[in-house]
């Protein structure tokens, strides 16, 4: 009998036959079932006997999807930008480049701010990870990572450590091991846990000390390109976005996918929570950024313009959540009025794609990373 290949996040004793093997982690009626692939097949055969079939499940699937659409539609009594009509239009923003950070030898793929609001870390296709002082432009530290395309880097909450990951499928000295590239990583509220997203379609939570997998998150049907942790006041959830055009919200403790949004028409490159934690924004190859409210469970705004035809790779909110900074493949950063849905301003300066934008922890500046080998600080 030929076994199928599947991605196993855990290895252990099968809950049905007891033999140690790679386990398929599935949920049946809200219960987690960790069986080896042989026992899953047996169970599926028994399921067939009771009259269930793939066809009948598919029908139920379609009717549930329709029901979801209806429920969501009933609450769509007004559009966000209509409610926002009564507030004043934003004045012109006086934001320009204040610093240009040069030092990387190739495309800068990712950056993150330290909580001290002045240091930042950046990673590049040249395999280097550099820690900068944003005020003085001095390079405090630089390390070489033994792989190219270091796609993700993150600063630890205490400022004492940096994590990075990329094409070597690992995050920092094999704390996290995926079966495909690591696209994003972030520390949770302590230096001891890291959350990663991967080209293997999953997200995972790891213990930094032991490298142990604490929880895995399955549900995306293609590469996961980005993730963001909910602001600490709102609890243990995070959002992820990927090549299956879906943005999923997850419960970190149970591993459960609690909400899912599919309105983009191409890969989602980046997801970011709104500062209150009640909403999030996404950037996509379909040249739009979208805004989803979690309590209304639907998309509430689309940020797009006929003149904006290149994919958006990254988004971040200003401190109050009123502005959305989005970096595009046409080398610009568009600043959107989140509530009114209009573009407030465009930031020019980079000479190649913008790969990442991040607002500093105290909101005083925006840092952008680009394929033009530089980072810029705007204020």
């Amino acid at each position: 009998m030929c076994d199928q290949t599947f991605m196993a996040a855990t290895f252990g004793p099968c809950e049905s036959c007891g033999k140690p093997s790679p386990l398929m982690n599935i949920y049946i009626k809200n219960e987690a079932i960790n069986y080896c692939s042989f026992c899953v097949e047996l169970m599926a055969c028994q399921g067939l006997q009771s009259g269930e079939s793939v066809a009948s499940l598919k029908r139920e699937c379609e009717s549930l999807k329709k029901k979801l659409e209806e429920e969501r539609g009933k609450l769509n009594d007004v559009e966000l930008h209509q409610v926002a009509d009564k507030i004043e239009v934003l004045g012109a923003l006086a934001i320009k480049t204040r610093r240009v950070l040069k030092g990387h030898g190739n495309k800068v793929l990712c950056m993150d701010w330290c909580k001290d609001k002045r240091r930042l870390v950046s990673s590049s296709q040249d395999g280097k990870v550099i820690v900068w002082d944003g005020f003085t432009l001095s390079k405090e530290n630089g390390i070489s990572v033994p792989c190219t395309w270091v796609m993700a880097c993150a600063y630890a909450p205490t400022g004492c450590a940096v994590a990075c990951g990329g094409l070597d499928n690992k995050c920092s000295k094999a704390v996290a091991m995926h079966t495909n590239y690591v696209s994003g990583c972030t520390f949770t509220n302590s230096d001891n846990q890291i959350l990663t997203s991967s080209g293997d379609g999953s997200c995972a939570l790891w213990d930094v000390e032991s490298g142990q997998l604490l929880q895995s998150f399955h549900g995306h049907t293609a590469d996961v390109l980005s993730l963001d942790l909910a602001p600490s006041e709102t609890g243990n959830t995070f959002v992820s976005g990927g090549c299956d055009k879906k943005a999923n919200v997850w419960d970190m403790r149970s591993g459960q996918n609690i909400q899912s949004f599919e309105s983009h028409v191409s890969d989602i490159n980046c997801v970011k929570y709104y500062p209150s934690g009640d909403a999030f924004a996404s950037a996509s190859d379909d040249a739009t950024c979208r805004f989803y409210d979690l309590r209304a469970d639907r998309e509430v705004a689309v940020y797009q313009k006929d003149s904006v035809i290149f994919g958006a790779s990254t988004v971040d909110f200003s401190l109050s959540g009123r502005l959305l900074f989005a970096g595009y493949n046409d080398y610009t950063i568009n600043v959107w009025d989140v509530l009114k849905g209009t573009r407030s301003s465009i930031l020019f300066g980079h000479e190649n794609r913008v790969s990442r934008v991040r607002v500093s922890p105290d909101g005083t500046a925006l840092c952008s990373a680009s394929w033009d080998h530089t980072l810029r600080i705007w204020a």
Binding site: Q49, I87, A296, L339
Partner: protein, 77 residues
């Protein structure tokens, strides 16, 4: 009528499991409590207006308070 269990290939076993998983997931999502967009919108707007004055990029803060902005040279009289 007795239905003899058919020999299933590995592929159909996994698509059955996959279909079950999808239905399970949709059942969970269908059950969540949702609020109206009008209520959600006004809450988002309230958050923005309450925090607007603390948003340096939105309000613009003077160069003296922003370490990234260059201060004007001061003339010594």
């Amino acid at each position: 009528v007795l239905v003899a269990p058919t020999r299933m290939s590995s592929k159909s076993a996994s698509s059955l499991a996959q279909a079950r998983r999808t239905v399970q997931q949709l059942r969970i999502e269908a059950r969540i409590n949702r609020i109206k967009v009008s209520k959600a919108s006004s809450d988002l707007m309230r958050y923005c207006s309450e925090h607007a004055k603390y948003d340096p990029l939105l309000m613009g803060i003077p160069a003296s308070e922003n370490p990234f902005k260059d201060k004007k040279p001061c003339a010594i009289l």
